[in-house]
């Protein structure tokens, strides 16, 4: 994993998709490419109430990313300093193998450049001491970002709960 965590509190997430747009707008992406995406699960009746979960799907920046090992050109890389997985556009030739390799559907196709785009936690913003676009602008503030080591145990539990089950997708 990268040395960061990006935590979504599904309890307060209203699935407004602002994060998707903020991400695209910040990366200036054309139609099609969605480095992060909100997936709606439900509605489903749970204890007599309709429940939905909105799951935030960015890149998980795996410990040992298949996209990196599959990339023939070395365009897909893992940043040694903090483990962020990113694409070097100069090297990408658009073979899409990373897209096929990723079990989470994280790498995205940019039809305009014929190259791959993906969530890099907005590393340019991080390097400038800022937080990722989606976290900074989230409508309800349900996204939080920080160093994994600062993530408290209680928060870990809440993370598990919250990103779990419908019961915890509301109040």
């Amino acid at each position: 994993m990268s040395k960061y965590y990006l935590f979504q509190d599904t309890r307060t997430c209203i699935g407004c998709h602002a994060c998707e747009i903020q991400c695209k707008s910040n990366k200036n992406l054309p139609r099609g490419a969605k480095p992060c995406q909100i997936i709606q699960v439900g509605p489903k009746m749970i204890n007599g109430l309709p429940k939905m979960s909105f799951i935030f799907m960015p890149c998980y920046h795996c410990e040992d990313p298949w996209c990196v090992s599959t990339c023939p050109t070395g365009a897909m890389q893992k940043r040694s300093s903090d483990g962020i997985v990113f694409v070097d556009k100069e090297l990408c030739v658009g073979c899409k193998t990373c897209i096929s390799a990723c079990p989470w559907g994280a790498p995205q196709w940019n039809p305009e450049t014929g190259k791959v785009e993906k969530c890099d936690y907005c590393k340019d913003r991080l390097d400038a001491g800022l937080k990722p676009a989606c976290v900074t602008l989230c409508t309800t503030g349900c996204l939080t970002f920080g160093l994994a080591e600062d993530m408290t145990q209680t928060r870990r539990v809440r993370h598990a709960e919250a990103s779990a089950s419908f019961e915890n997708s509301s109040f």
Binding site: I55, W66, S69, T70, L91, S100, P107, V157
Partner: protein
């Protein structure tokens, strides 16, 4: 910086926008819009309104300019577009970038090689598809004599044909002839619609290929055209210089007739300056003259006896007499002096007229002969004897009858200060070739009698008419010239090319448009989608052999020697075209596949201009995983990856290089890459790739699924 102004403008604009120096949003937006339009121009996707739109954008820019800097930028832009107006316009009209800087617009080598600039890849594709009439229509945009050229063109195009780097060049020449013949017999060989008469009149002097071509394009443009021809027939050298066994008279007649159908008036047996004068024509209201009188005068041998014996003939005169109906053998034993096509033609003609023995005396050795090698071969087959390294010394005989040609053997020696091999007599190498007729074929020059009227016109030291080659304009206003009269003895296709150029120039002159600085580069009229076929077929299609008339018939009659391919042969042969108008052979695909992907599936040796290695389209499927990286990086979309009928097909200019079965997303049915591709990925990820999810899923469904697993599989509601 590139040579092409269009390309330069693109670079200038994109740099400008990226630099961030356009801080006024309006200025930036206008530049973005101009950039977009310019891109379309450089890609051949522009219409006639593009430049107008750009002009008004520049005007808007200049009025909106908020700072001195922006104003300067605007001025620079203005200059870029006004300064090179012609280039932008030609990019739009011709969809060609002469300098090849605008990649998508580079014309094919064969088209560039053709002096008439015929759009060869386009018509080959049409012929391959069996659309002969359409093919003829395309050819006639640049050359009104597809049939004639299909039989006798010197075909520089074939010499440049890229296919020859794989096996043999496409036999472009004859495919034209076939299409013309087929279209003609189907009654589909028609003239395009001509413009209304514009009230202007042009006089063409000489009904040869150059003159007739100019007449054709001028009358299409709406000019009244009158041709003055000294001979009783039209066609000039192609009629009286080229023997019938190479070019049947009917072929010429049919194509000339089509030109006459356009209203072109030809007055035969009319020699300019004798039967009709400059003044007469001026009084008839002629606005411009076009001189295409060819080079019909033969050079003297300059040896003893030349002037004494009546049976010393000059090839040109001899061939002309035969063409005009004199079918008597010149004699029993004929010697032809010279090594060019004319010499061969004279010899083979003499043979056909019944001469018992015909030989050719040439100063140098066989491989120095300027004549077409095919011609030489055919002559040998027919029993013409060749005496190489033979310098004629004197014509022997008595009482006005030739008995023989006194010659001396020579050897080729490189002289001091010259890099040419010169034939030098070997002492004591004298010998005699028995003969009663000697025909000289050592070249022609322009016969300028009657040209005095064009007093301001200049002549070169070669005795040819001096013109500006971009416009074929002579020093005398309103007087143009082309063909052999300008170049000296040259090829038919050159005469046609220059005739067409002259027609355009005359039109410009009479509509008061300034003449271009350089000769126009070939025009690609439109782009035909390539013919689809398998790699195997593309590789194995073989050049058909030309069936020939049997030798006895060739020795005795003037029947056409080359009988032509059958239809199947023609369609196949046309299919061998590599469509170099689409694929520029930049090699990016190979580079990406080999160096970037490390797959090295593309064996396109022919793309390496300087050291071509073996080419085999069939080899692609051995390693290719249809990842499409080559296609994604192909500037011209010559390489495409299409997903069709359950297959992933990789095609280069219509040639199916590889085809693999598409996999489908088991959840939504979306297309997935091929199994081979997924294996490639699996090999790369190695044993890591132990997926919880073993189903085949597309990107979106994978996200959906992992989201759902998040919700459903995690322990719910720990408190």
């Amino acid at each position: 910086m590139a040579i092409c102004p269009v390309r330069n403008t693109l670079i200038y604009l994109s740099d400008l926008i990226l630099s961030g120096s356009l801080t006024d949003p309006k200025a930036r937006r206008i530049c973005e819009q101009i950039l977009h339009l310019t891109e379309e121009i450089s890609e051949g996707a522009a219409g006639k309104d593009h430049l107008l739109a750009i002009d008004s954008l520049i005007r808007e820019y200049l009025t909106a300019a908020d700072s001195k800097k922006n104003l300067e930028t605007g001025k620079t832009l203005e200059e870029m577009f006004s300064g090179h107006r012609e280039v932008f316009e030609s990019h739009i009209q011709t969809r060609n970038c002469p300098s090849h800087d605008c990649g998508k617009l580079a014309p094919s080598p064969c088209q560039m090689a053709c002096p008439a600039g015929i759009d060869i890849p386009t018509y080959l594709t049409l012929i391959a598809r069996g659309e002969d009439a359409k093919a003829i229509e395309v050819i006639r945009r640049d050359n009104p004599f597809p049939w004639v050229c299909g039989l006798i063109c010197t075909r520089p195009c074939e010499m440049m044909c890229v296919r020859s780097r794989i096996d043999t060049p496409v036999s472009i020449k004859f495919l034209k002839a076939f299409a013309a013949e087929r279209a003609m017999s189907e009654g589909a060989y028609k003239n395009p619609k001509k413009k209304e008469w514009n009230g202007k009149k042009v006089c063409v002097i000489g009904a040869g290929p150059g003159g007739l071509t100019a007449a054709y394009y001028l009358s299409l443009l709406g000019y009244g055209v009158k041709i003055i021809e000294a001979l009783p027939v039209s066609g000039g050298m192609i009629m009286v210089g080229i023997p019938r066994y190479r070019l049947p008279r009917e072929v010429i007649d049919r194509e000339v007739a089509l030109i006459e159908d356009l209203g072109v008036e030809i007055s035969y047996n009319t020699r300019f300056g004798r039967d009709i004068t400059y003044e007469d024509l001026k009084n008839e209201g002629v606005d411009a003259f076009f001189i295409a009188i060819g080079a019909h005068k033969a050079l003297d041998l300059g040896i003893k006896g030349e002037k004494i014996f009546p049976k010393v003939l000059e090839a040109i005169g001899f061939l002309k007499d035969v063409a005009l109906g004199n079918h008597h053998a010149p004699g029993k034993q004929v010697v032809v002096i010279g090594g060019g096509n004319v010499a061969i033609d004279a010899a083979r003609t003499a043979l056909r007229l019944g001469a018992e023995k015909v030989s050719i005396a040439y100063r140098r050795s066989k491989n120095q002969m300027p004549a077409d090698s095919e011609e030489v071969e055919q002559a040998m087959e027919e029993g013409i004897e060749f005496s190489f390294l033979t310098i004629p010394k004197e014509i022997l005989g008595k009482d006005g009858t030739i008995t023989g040609l006194d010659c001396i053997k020579a050897e080729l020696i490189q002289k001091e200060g010259s890099d040419r091999l010169m034939p030098v007599p070997i002492p004591g190498g004298d010998f005699i070739i028995e003969a009663d007729v000697v025909i000289s074929a050592i070249g022609q020059y322009v016969d300028d009698t009657g040209m005095e009227a064009f007093s301001q016109m200049n002549w070169t030291r070669r005795g040819t008419i001096e013109v500006n080659h971009a416009s074929m304009e002579t020093a005398m206003p309103g007087v143009f010239a082309a063909g052999d009269a300008v170049s000296g003895p040259a090829t038919v296709i050159e005469a046609i090319g220059s005739g067409k150029r002259a027609a355009e120039a005359i039109d410009r002159y009479l509509s008061h448009i300034p003449q271009p600085r350089t000769p126009k580069i070939p025009v690609r009229h439109h782009m035909e989608p390539p013919v689809e076929m398998t790699a195997t077929r593309k590789m194995t299609l073989k050049h058909p052999t030309m069936p020939m008339l049997n030798v006895d018939r060739r020795r005795t009659t003037f029947q056409q020697v080359e009988l032509g391919y059958d239809e199947e042969g023609v369609r196949k042969e046309a299919g061998r075209c590599l469509r170099c108008d689409i694929c520029r052979r930049c090699g990016k695909c190979i580079e990406v596949c080999r160096d970037k992907m490390g797959i090295d599936a593309l064996q396109f040796g022919y793309m390496d201009f300087d050291h071509p290695t073996e080419t085999d389209f069939r080899a692609t499927e051995k390693k290719c995983i249809t990842c499409g990286a080559c296609a994604a990086n192909c500037e011209n979309k010559a390489m495409v990856l299409e997903e069709k009928d359950g297959r992933r097909n990789l095609k280069l200019c219509g040639t199916l290089l590889n085809s693999q079965a598409i996999q489908y997303c088991e959840a939504c049915g979306a297309f997935l890459p091929s199994a081979e591709y997924l294996d490639f990925v699996a090999r790369k990820t190695g044993d890591k790739a132990k997926r919880a999810e073993t189903r085949l899923l597309c990107n979106d469904c994978l996200r959906l699924l992992s989201a759902k697993t998040n919700v459903e599989t995690r322990p719910a509601g720990l408190k």
